[in-house]
């Protein structure tokens, strides 16, 4: 039976309400809210569209702080405020419907508008009745918890760059009109009235091409100029040269009345070039590839003043010696000393180590850890930007733009191409200057026009742009098209362990010790049902075949364990000391110890569960790539891993974030091209340093550190196939280079012999461009089919 609201399995004991089954009270409450406001339409649009609401108690208290609020609100004046929220759980048309009908849930909401691709909701509300915090809580209550991070707070409204669309529009507009105007001349009709209007037509074409050359082509001139200054012969140099020569020669021709010019080819050329650019610029607007620690940290924290009053503070305002209150599941924003409270810190963001560590008061806490258990108090030792974790971002790797470290295939080839073209142009020009000086200038310019590498420049954008889309459909999201070229050159693949090749939520559980009776097992399961601790949840699932009893007594001691009794049997389950285990040494693996009455019985040991298909992935990769594992975890899994991995895989444990970065850098200096596959902030340095950094994520909408690609965890076994497809894509580019060279040869033949008429140019140019586009999209489509 599935939950009417969210569609998850209700298990054995669903909650019934209004003749419908719900998996939990959270889902039921959302349904109640909707039905009380005549919004049941929500359930008609999509089947089980709902999202189970999460725990938000105290989570958004920082929204009471006026200064934080000001940063988050887009607009606030008089009674009206406008805020834009990023809501990761927006996923279907029901979501759009309910969020745009928000005014029915609260009358102070004036308008709300969803941007589905970006997963944003913009709300206009009157803040005298409804504060921003209440609005956020309202959204959270119905399952749409906004994700508010430091990044949003620091960001001021950025303008979306739409210039490419404008340029494309200008070029397309001019191309169409010039084509029409030059049509009569294609047939060289010597008609009286056509001849009479020739100059008029020509000057209109000239006028139409002006914005194309001076506006739409601007980027090519700029890029060519930059290339020359840097001493690089990039692809934009012959393009810019071609455009300039086309324009000058055409203008000269119509000014002297010697010909019609090449305005049609000129505008068409730019239209196709810009189209290629637009195609390649596919971006996943709902994903962020630039996240650093800022997006992990909360916007505000609770500071305690001298009188013990709690104040919400902006995270950047934390100073040395500030006393901070960290609640359950909150992130520690700065390094500090624990004052009081029982700290159980989960450092998995920072180190990859999955087990929480216990700290006593007086001990040092590091930024990036997440408190699990009761609230703690701590004193800050420095400010946010000087903390241990955040210092990783001051590494020089993060300062440079990764894209500039690598040269694209097109740029490598164009180096020779440009040189050869210039050589031919000058050679032929000199030859004609000697034999027939009158033809020297036309031939020289014709070569530069015909050689303008339109097809060449289109090969890569269309191939890579199409691959980018194909990968996107396969849940492998790339930051930009250039990543594919880099993927094709990879020879070493390095994996992080925890969270990357192991699944976060599940573990294999084994019991060691004196066997528990049936009654004891069912009592244990009943007790576990009441606990929200991750280990309890997993153990509860593991003991699934047991009955549910009624408990006489139940008590959970945070950070220690559970105590439960029924029918005179008392069970204690939890940490080693809590259950009174006689084992002197703590085992490296996570364990839950169990005792009944006064006698210790045994322990449940949790082993990492590796993702499905990981072994197969490693086997398929081993043939072509060097493999390695860099784990922040301890060595407890070494044996298990060695069984899983092909011989020769290097294993490193207890790696700090800097160690990972340095390992990658060291091997790059030895000449390796490295793909790093990781998942957390602890891999951030290595992901940035590597040639291709891939972040594996179980939920692509939530956390992933700065990287080149985001891979849905369930598609991890496909990584080998993706690498292969990238290599094929690069082969396709090379093949289409050959094709466009052939077109260039044909064009050059006409140009060198001095027979390049505007008609031939007007046919050859679109023909070569379109056939290259068809060739590349066809072949990449075929590669994509093989991936399915």
């Amino acid at each position: 039976m599935n939950c009417f609201h969210c569609g998850t399995n209700c298990g054995t004991a669903p909650i019934c309400f209004d003749n419908k089954e719900f998996c939990c009270t959270g889902c039921k409450t959302v349904y109640e809210i909707f039905s009380a406001n005549q919004l049941e339409g929500y359930y008609d649009l999509d089947e089980n569209p709902g999202i189970r609401p999460g725990e938000v108690e105290g989570k958004f208290d920082f929204l009471d702080n006026q200064r934080i609020l000001e940063k988050l609100l887009e607009f606030s004046d008089g009674d009206i405020s406008v805020a834009e929220f990023y809501i990761p759980s927006i996923h279907c048309s029901s979501c759009i419907w309910i969020l745009e009908n928000l005014h029915k849930l609260h009358r102070s909401v004036k308008a709300s508008q969803v941007d589905f691709p970006r997963k944003k909701l913009r709300v206009t509300f009157s803040h005298s009745d409804l504060t921003a915090k209440e609005l956020v809580l309202l959204l959270s209550r119905i399952g749409y918890e906004p994700y508010i991070s430091l990044e949003d707070a620091g960001r001021k409204e950025q303008d979306i760059d739409r210039s490419l669309i404008y340029k494309l529009g200008v070029a397309g507009f001019a191309f169409g009109n010039v084509m029409l105007l030059s049509f009569p001349e294609y047939f060289e009709i010597d008609e009286f009235w056509l001849n009479q209007y020739k100059p008029f037509f020509r000057w209109i074409m000239f006028g139409l091409s002006l914005p194309v050359v001076f506006y739409a082509a601007g980027d090519y001139f700029k890029s060519a100029f930059k290339g020359i200054r840097a001493g690089l012969l990039n692809i934009d140099i012959p393009i810019a040269l071609g455009i300039a020569v086309l324009f000058l020669r055409s203008t000269w021709e119509i000014a002297t009345n010697t010909g019609q010019g090449f305005f049609d080819s000129l505008t068409g050329l730019l239209f196709f070039l810009l189209l290629g650019r637009y195609f390649q610029e596919k971006t996943y607007s709902f994903l962020s590839f630039e996240r650093d620690y800022k997006s992990y940290f909360p916007v505000g924290v609770t500071r305690m003043d001298e009188d013990g009053q709690e104040i919400s503070t902006d995270i950047y305002d934390i100073k040395e010696q500030d006393r901070l209150l960290i609640r359950n599941q909150e992130l520690i924003p700065v390094d500090g000393i624990l004052l009081n409270g029982k700290a159980r810190i989960d450092y998995s963001f920072v180190t990859g180590e999955s087990d929480p560590v216990t700290r006593e008061s007086g001990e040092k806490l590091f930024a990036g850890g997440k408190q699990t258990g009761t609230a703690i108090e701590m004193v800050a030792l420095n400010s946010v930007s000087q903390s241990y974790l955040t210092q990783l971002w001051s590494n020089e790797v993060f300062s440079g733009d990764k894209q500039t470290r690598f040269q694209s295939l097109t740029d490598r080839i164009s180096k020779y191409f440009t040189a050869v073209i210039l050589l031919i142009a000058f050679g032929a020009g000199t030859y004609w200057y000697v034999t027939d000086p009158a033809l020297a200038a036309p031939v020289f310019t014709a070569i530069l026009i015909v050689a303008c590498p339109c097809a060449l420049a289109l090969s890569a954008p269309f191939t890579l742009g199409n691959m980018l889309r194909i990968f996107g459909k396969q849940k492998f999201y790339l930051k930009n098209a250039q990543v594919i070229e880099r993927m094709a050159g990879i020879d070493t693949v390095i994996f992080d362990k925890t969270g990357t090749i192991t699944a976060n939520a599940n573990a294999d559980i084994a019991y060691e010790g004196v066997e528990l009776t049936r009654q004891e097992r069912s009592l244990l399961r009943t007790g576990l049902r009441n606990s929200n601790h991750p280990l309890s949840r997993q153990l509860y699932e593991f003991l699934q075949d047991q009955q549910i009893d009624t408990l006489d007594h139940y008590k959970e001691s945070t950070g220690k364990g559970l105590e439960m009794s029924a029918g005179g049997v008392l069970i204690r389950a939890g940490s080693r000391s809590f259950a009174g285990s006689p084992d002197l040494e703590e085992v490296l693996n996570t364990s839950v110890y169990v005792s009944t009455g006064e006698a210790y019985r045994g322990r449940f040991t949790f082993y990492n569960r590796y993702r499905k298909g990981v072994a197969g992935l490693f086997r398929s990769l081993a043939a072509k790539y060097r493999l390695g594992i860099l784990s922040g975890d301890n060595e407890s899994e070494r044996e298990n891993l060695q069984k899983l991995l092909p011989a020769g895989t290097k294993l490193f444990f207890n790696q700090k974030p800097e160690d990972k970065l340095n390992y990658v850098r060291f091997h790059q200096e030895e000449g390796a091209s490295i793909m790093m596959v990781g998942d957390g902030l602890n891999d951030a340095g290595a992901l940035q340093q590597s040639d291709v950094g891939v972040a594996v994520s179980e939920n692509i909408n939530v956390f992933s550190p700065a990287c080149d690609a985001i891979l849905d965890a369930e598609k991890l076994p496909q990584l080998g196939a993706y690498l292969k497809a990238s290599a094929h894509a690069v082969t396709v580019i090379k093949a289409s280079f050959v094709l466009s060279f052939l077109y260039n040869l044909v064009g050059l033949y006409f140009a060198v012999t001095g027979a390049l008429s505007p008609v031939i140019a007007a046919i050859l140019m679109p023909l070569s461009s379109i056939s290259v586009v068809l060739f590349t999209t066809g072949l990449t489509g075929w590669i994509g089919k093989k991936l399915n």
Binding site: F116, I160, R162
Partner: protein, 62 residues
């Protein structure tokens, strides 16, 4: 025959009007989100307004 000057000029002006319309459409953000409006369009009719509702939702300008 010189009517052709007028005709061509007029046709160019018409073309330019469309071009300007395109640019204003892009500028106002119509091309930023090409998905949501297509879904939203299908909702309008299903909304049975109970009694009166404060202001109708008028979209906000950026």
């Amino acid at each position: 025959m010189s009517v052709i000057y007028i005709l061509i000029t007029v046709s160019l002006i018409v073309a330019v009007i469309f071009f300007v319309a395109f640019v204003t459409a892009v500028r106002s953000g119509q091309y930023d989100d090409s998905y949501t409006p297509s879904v939203r369009m299908l909702f309008e009719d299903e909304l049975v307004e109970p009694e009166e509702d404060s202001e109708p939702s008028n979209s906000t300008k950026n």
